[in-house]
Subunit: 215 residues, 2 copies
């Protein structure tokens, strides 16, 4: 049986998993909005960011209260402090999904991704989905192998990021500057989203390894 204290600790983890699912779904929908020039979907993602921001603020209050009232130490304290940092990271991931959706909306009814770059962006979207899904699972399960998979997914994202730049720079001089600006930023949003997922995976690894070292 769990006491109230461990129930609050579990509640914090549950909240992080919920936030992970939400930002994963936001990025997934933002990618569809981007690749299919779907304005309604873009608007829905843009609106969803408030939910992430509210969840992050709520988690900040919840963790502060937990520390003040329960005064956790050692591993428990590290879990709570890690949760605070992870929630800031998740908030930032929500912002990035929102940026992708805003870029889709700005170009509507055109598609912000030109034909020659669709394969790369389609795969970046798939890699981002996969990383976000694993990130939620890692927070819930503390599965270290899965956490390490996120790092190798990130290698693929970095390769795609470079490929997009290569394609962009190889384009004939006719590429409009506005398009180059959009692609440069979109490319960066996906890369940063992936970096944040890695950050969360590494924090989880550090927590677990730390727990083992403490044991």
């Amino acid at each position: 049986m769990r006491d109230a204290y461990h129930e609050s600790l579990d509640a914090v983890t549950d909240e992080l998993v919920t936030m992970s699912r939400l930002v994963g779904s936001m990025m997934q929908r933002a990618s569809v909005a981007l690749l299919e020039a779907d304005r309604a979907r873009a608007e829905a993602v843009i609106a969803a960011d408030d939910e992430v921001d509210a969840a992050c603020q709520e988690l900040e209050l919840q963790t502060t209260e937990l520390i003040a009232l329960q005064q956790p130490v050692a591993t428990d304290l590290r879990i709570v402090l890690s949760a605070m940092r992870m929630s800031s990271t998740l908030e930032r991931m929500g912002d990035l999904a929102q940026h992708v959706a805003k870029s889709a909306r700005m170009r509507y009814p055109d598609c912000a991704v030109p034909e020659p770059l669709r394969p790369q962006f389609t795969e970046m979207a798939a890699v981002a989905d996969r990383m976000a899904a694993k990130m939620g699972d890692v927070i819930a399960s503390k599965d270290l192998d899965l956490a390490r998979e996120i790092e190798s997914d990130d290698d693929r994202m970095d390769a795609l990021h470079r490929e997009v730049l290569d394609v962009l720079l190889r384009q004939p001089g006719s590429t409009p500057i506005g398009e180059a600006v959009d692609i440069t930023l979109l490319n960066r949003y996906y890369e940063r989203f992936a970096d944040h997922a890695v950050n969360i995976a590494r924090r989880t690894i550090y927590l677990v390894i730390g727990e083992r070292a403490d044991a």
Copy 2:
């Protein structure tokens, strides 16, 4: 007379001020490296980022220990938790200065900023300097008027950010795509650097207003 507990709290604030000065100096030198195509200076900034990362990790340990051993509550706890978040933000500001320096290094011996955009980047550099200097002072003094000045400095940064995009999009078709990519990213680095300074200013305002509300 200050007891050991309040001395540790003060030490945390001092460390944040030191980090602020460091990231401010990094961005200032990165801007000079960028505008003067000064490779040695760029290298120095790139190397300095390790110092910021180490300071951030050190602060994370220091604050975790402080919470575990001293179990601060109410305002003191909020100060310590805020410090943890601010240190992540400062670490990110150091990364952005490093990105600017890397862009300068990549284009060396050329200057990454083309002639028509030098006025805007020169002013963005000046605004970033000013904001970073005020940020350090705000952390040290909790001066709310100064914190609010950071927000209005950010309005100027946002205006410059839009101006850079306007100039870029108005350029004749001859702008090389590589140059457009660089400028788009540099523009974003300065804008994000400023956003982070605002974030720290707002956290300080929230802390002080919170303290007043508690009193």
